[in-house]
Symmetry: C2
Subunit: 203 residues, 2 copies
């Protein structure tokens, strides 16, 4: 912990506190405590709360969309790319389950957060490429006709929701930590199976 620079420790601490409490609910004192640092130092390294928040938020956004590039620029077979993406996506969310909740909520509070934060991520290129990949598979008769939108919604839903909703699912299904975790691990395969079986049903 202490071998990290002050900046690093602050950012890690701020991520923890902001993701749980949100911009307005977070206390600078909590972040300072979590980082094992003086409250005044937060203002030394980052001018104010808002600025610290925006830096954290932007980093998290890039992490999320980084995985999507991986899905596009592989040369593997379509089915394998789906499998790789599902595994990667589940692993990323498992690292920090509150993060997607945090992003979804903050974006609703403040829609401008999305705008202009994507200079480096070419979403249009990713979309175009992925549509071409899907169309090629459809043309070859490998998969049924499906839109990029529907496929992506399905995959993202099945990967992300069961992890972000952990406390509720554990409660509703009466699961302990261990069996919940086994279920999620098994999903790295079963989600791909579900998606791929759906694609292979030719209509």
């Amino acid at each position: 912990m202490s071998e990290l620079s002050a900046q690093e420790r602050i950012k890690i601490a701020a991520t923890k506190v902001f993701t749980l409490k949100g911009l307005e609910g977070a206390r600078m004192q909590d972040i300072a405590d979590e980082a094992n640092i003086n409250k005044a130092m937060l203002h030394y390294y980052f001018r104010n709360k808002k600025q610290l928040f925006e830096i954290i938020f932007e980093e998290k956004l890039h992490k999320i969309f980084g995985a999507m590039e991986l899905l596009i620029f592989s040369k593997d077979a379509f089915e394998n790319r789906i499998r790789a993406f599902v595994e990667k996506q589940i692993s990323i969310v498992l690292e920090f389950p509150v993060m997607p909740i945090f992003v979804m909520l903050e974006v609703r509070k403040n829609p401008e957060l999305l705008e202009g934060k994507f200079k480096n991520i070419p979403l249009d290129v990713i979309r175009d490429n992925f549509r071409k990949v899907i169309d090629a598979e459809v043309m070859s008769g490998n998969i049924r006709r499906i839109s990029l939108e529907e496929l992506l919604m399905n995959v993202m839903s099945l990967c992300i929701y069961p992890i972000i909703a952990e406390p509720i699912l554990k409660y509703v299904l009466d699961l302990n930590q261990e069996s919940y975790f086994e279920l999620i691990e098994a999903r790295k395969k079963s989600v791909s199976d579900l998606i791929i079986n759906d694609l292979k049903i030719l209509k």
Copy 2:
């Protein structure tokens, strides 16, 4: 608006503000403004912020789990029950898309929120019944072997995530309000199809 009682208007206003801002981020003044009422009146009708919050939270929880009972106590064929549940679930979440995000986040902040709030909802009965229904279908050879846990995670994911993640999905997929809404409407059918096709693949 004004034909509603003060209590009712406060609760509606508080729901709006709390779901977006969370317990700590919400301002009593914002709730008062939203309810078109004096700030002092909030404390007249509800002793304090925490108590107002808990009342709202509990109501939302019951709304979520109310839909699950509907899934169990129908006498319709299994496939139709799935279809009915998916439609109902999507409709409920569409009514108030921030609500699941709010619940997921608050429960993570404060795990005790779940405990003791379910005197009236017999989760264990619902689980047992649903397991029996699934087992009967498996025995009759109608569906493949699947656990309650996996099935529920899949259905909930596909219904809830695309709605709570609306702003992100619209941005990533470059959708306008209209085409996004069409996609979600179409999911009332396509999600059921996906789930049912998966169940019918006998392994």
